[in-house]
Symmetry: C2
Subunit: 150 residues, 2 copies
């Protein structure tokens, strides 16, 4: 259940780097790489659209293993990202459009709130909350650096 | 659209104080008190279950005014709260059960992710993301103080 140190060492950088690693691991169906993106905290939680709240590393891992158990190729297209970046925690809101196998029509969007914490090894996920959403309204991508604007 | 300084001055305290003020304002249908709980940032966002992402103070306010426009009495029951508390941002995950008027059966739950930022005037909401959820599984209420556990 523990993250490998080699994987963790590859995940330094800004919160948007860990976000890229997270969605890349999702697309590859790489459960170890995916779990290496998460903080080493008992309270991490993950909510898939319309699903239960999975709390803790084991429950979070199991929830993704169930998704990866079907031989499905997933491609994510992310749109209209909002970032709040603080000293120790960052929040991202993003619309996720999903291509399943070779389907021409994208599914979604889901709207996801991703929460990251800064650890000595880099930013790590604390929470992923995805829910159903109507079509995303047009809006620019924006980042607010909390504590620097004031 | 600006928050009154008198209202803001009454909203000092910890992130869970502002959370209490937020749900109290919801139950009272007090739009000014509700908006006084939010940070003064263009990027604040609010997602009601299954609804669009409302970005910015005007869109957030309008989304609540539409809910308050119907003469409905709302009572919230909050369960299984998880808190991540950092230096400048705090995150709360909570199940919301809702009593509408005198209905005996509670509606929900919705699962909400609330994000707060610490401002000179106290903690304020940056984001409220509520989505549909199956019945909440039993789990304790927990708080993780990020940066203090490591």
């Amino acid at each position: 259940m523990r993250k490998s140190k080699i994987q963790a060492a590859n995940l330094e950088g800004d919160a948007d780097d860990i976000e890229a690693a997270f969605y890349d691991a999702l697309q590859r169906g790489d459960i170890d790489r995916l779990m290496a993106c998460w903080a080493d905290e008992d309270e991490i939680f993950c909510i898939h659209p319309g699903g239960p709240r999975n709390v803790g590393p084991e429950a979070v891992r199991t929830s993704w293993e169930e998704i990866f158990a079907t031989p499905t190729r997933l491609r994510f297209q992310l749109e209209q990202q909002l970032f709040f970046v603080g000293a120790s925690i960052a929040i991202q809101s993003v619309f996720e459009y999903l291509q399943v196998n070779d389907e021409k029509k994208l599914r979604g969007p889901a709207v996801a709130t991703n929460v990251y914490t800064r650890t000595p090894a880099g930013w790590r996920l604390l929470a992923h909350h995805a829910g159903p959403s109507p079509t995303a309204a047009a809006a620019p991508t924006r980042t607010a650096r909390i504590g620097r604007l004031h």
